[in-house]
């Protein structure tokens, strides 16, 4: 609990969190204005998809940077060493620090999306279930990329390394992952499509998008080809949960195994 309290106080007194939140607020408001011409019945879904498409570029890199710099600062300020010489080991430190980061990032974001829902009420017919699915998708995206950021901060030795790794991870999930899979596409058969699907949904952006779009009823799984049926071999929510678990475990594992406690290496 004391880590959450400390992270909270540190961040609400800093500029970084407010700046990031204000960008999300501005994006959401501008999309709301642009969507005011949409119909009362269907506009809500269009707005949510547009909003998701707009912030999906921003949230991953924001979370990567927050996670990475937050861990790195503990090394730079030598507070990590002070903590590790007492009760904590790196794993327990990372768990507590990560929980603190989740709260710091998610609580203001959830408050904003609650207020945003009130604004939406004046313009559109609300579908609370779809909105909760949208919020859940954003939460998952935050968790995965915050934890990846924490891993980057753990094994980086300098701020330049953090910037390099972060841009690489962002670039990989936005472009490279799909690009690599595209090159395998001609070889996909009924026999190996499950493997291809697993690799495809290993990308958190794809898993989150599929969860959101199917959850909101934009896609139906009623009339799929045999190949596509095999591709979607489980429900999108399970792809998302699997993705969440895999990336959290990989990020924690990488951070613990490859962490560098600046100052003695």
């Amino acid at each position: 609990m004391h880590y959450i309290w400390k992270e909270w106080k540190e961040n609400i007194r800093g500029k970084g969190l407010w700046l990031s939140l204000s960008i999300i607020v501005l994006i959401s408001i501008s999309i709301l204005f642009r969507s005011s011409v949409l119909s009362f019945d269907k506009g809500f879904y269009v707005l949510l998809i547009n909003l998701f498409d707009a912030i999906i570029y921003f949230i991953p890199i924001l979370c990567l940077f927050i996670g990475a710099f937050s861990i790195f600062q503990e090394k730079e300020q030598k507070t990590l060493i002070m903590l590790l010489t007492k009760k904590d080991n790196y794993a327990s430190f990372l768990v507590r620090k990560s929980l603190g980061l989740y709260v710091v990032v998610l609580v203001p974001l959830m408050i904003w999306f609650f207020l945003y829902l009130l604004l939406l009420k004046f313009n559109f017919g609300l579908d609370i279930t779809s909105y909760l699915i949208f919020v859940a998708a954003i939460i998952c995206l935050n968790l995965v990329f915050l934890q990846m950021g924490a891993a980057i901060g753990s094994f980086s030795r300098s701020r330049m390394q953090i910037i390099g790794y972060t841009i690489f991870v962002w670039f990989y999930f936005f472009f490279l992952h799909d690009f690599i899979l595209l090159s395998f596409l001609p070889d996909v058969t009924h026999e190996n499509v499950k493997l291809f699907s697993a690799a495809y949904f290993l990308n958190p952006l794809q898993a989150v998008r599929m969860f959101l779009e199917t959850g909101m009823g934009l896609y139906s799984f009623g009339h799929m080809s045999r190949l596509l049926e095999k591709f979607m071999w489980t429900k999108p929510v399970f792809f998302l949960l699997g993705n969440l678990v895999i990336w959290l475990v990989i990020s924690f594992g990488t951070a613990i195994v490859f962490n560098r406690k600046e100052g003695y290496e």
Partner: protein
């Protein structure tokens, strides 16, 4: 008490600590001295369990330093060199965080007592980013003192501090009669003022002296006084 027996530490082919054997007794204030790169940080990090001990043994108050148990950690409080703490938090908030991290809950009366002992009680609600270097160092010292550990390991506690700030830190150190202290330092005058012994690290080997012996052996009697 710290007992180090035949400690070896090497990085690749470079041997940094070569069969170091030393004992730092109860209530001794011992300066850790050596040239830059002599292995002082490696020695300290070995004592703190931050570097695994592959060859040799370290015992803190009779408990062996291993990753398998944390009992020895209770006896040690460490203040690193050039630390910054959490600049957005106040002095008291920083102290509360570390107190809770160490013992689960913070004792305000004890925090007040420790902060008063380093003359920081009046500045407790000031954000640490507004602290001077000397105030920051005293806050760090207060955090280590709050832990009530019998052994303090201080890495260059007066580094980069103005003479007045140094004097204040040294006064605090001199008042700690019930602690065993290992402090890394380059300042002979502060060694002379505060320390009872010196452990000198040179080319991987460590030798222990009294302060007088050290100054005489190294022909430093007239320097830094």
């Amino acid at each position: 008490m710290i007992r180090v027996t035949n400690l070896n530490q090497s990085f690749g082919k470079k041997t940094v600590l070569d069969g170091v054997t030393v004992e730092i007794g109860k209530y001794e204030i011992c300066a850790l001295v050596g040239r830059n790169g002599a292995g002082k940080s490696t020695f300290i990090n070995s004592l703190l369990g931050l570097l695994p001990v592959k060859q040799g043994a370290i015992a803190i108050n009779g408990i062996e330093v291993t990753n398998k148990n944390d009992e020895w950690k209770k006896a040690i409080a460490y203040l690193p060199e050039k630390f910054m703490l959490y600049p957005m938090l106040t002095g008291l908030e920083n102290m509360t965080f570390f107190a809770e991290a160490v013992s689960g809950k913070a004792d305000l009366a004890r925090m007040e007592q420790v902060l008063r002992s380093v003359s920081l009680w009046d500045d407790r609600d000031v954000q640490v980013k507004k602290y001077s270097k000397g105030m920051l160092q005293r806050l760090g010292l207060a955090i280590t003192l709050y832990q009530d550990s019998s052994i303090l390991i201080l890495d260059e506690p007066t580094s980069g501090i103005d003479p007045m700030g140094r004097k204040e830190i040294l006064e605090v150190l001199k008042s700690l009669h019930d602690k065993t202290i290992l402090l890394s330092s380059h300042h002979l005058d502060e060694i002379r003022q505060v320390c009872t012994h010196v452990v000198y690290l040179n080319e991987g080997k460590m030798v222990k002296f009294t302060v007088r012996e050290f100054l005489e052996t190294h022909h430093l009697g007239g320097i830094g006084s």
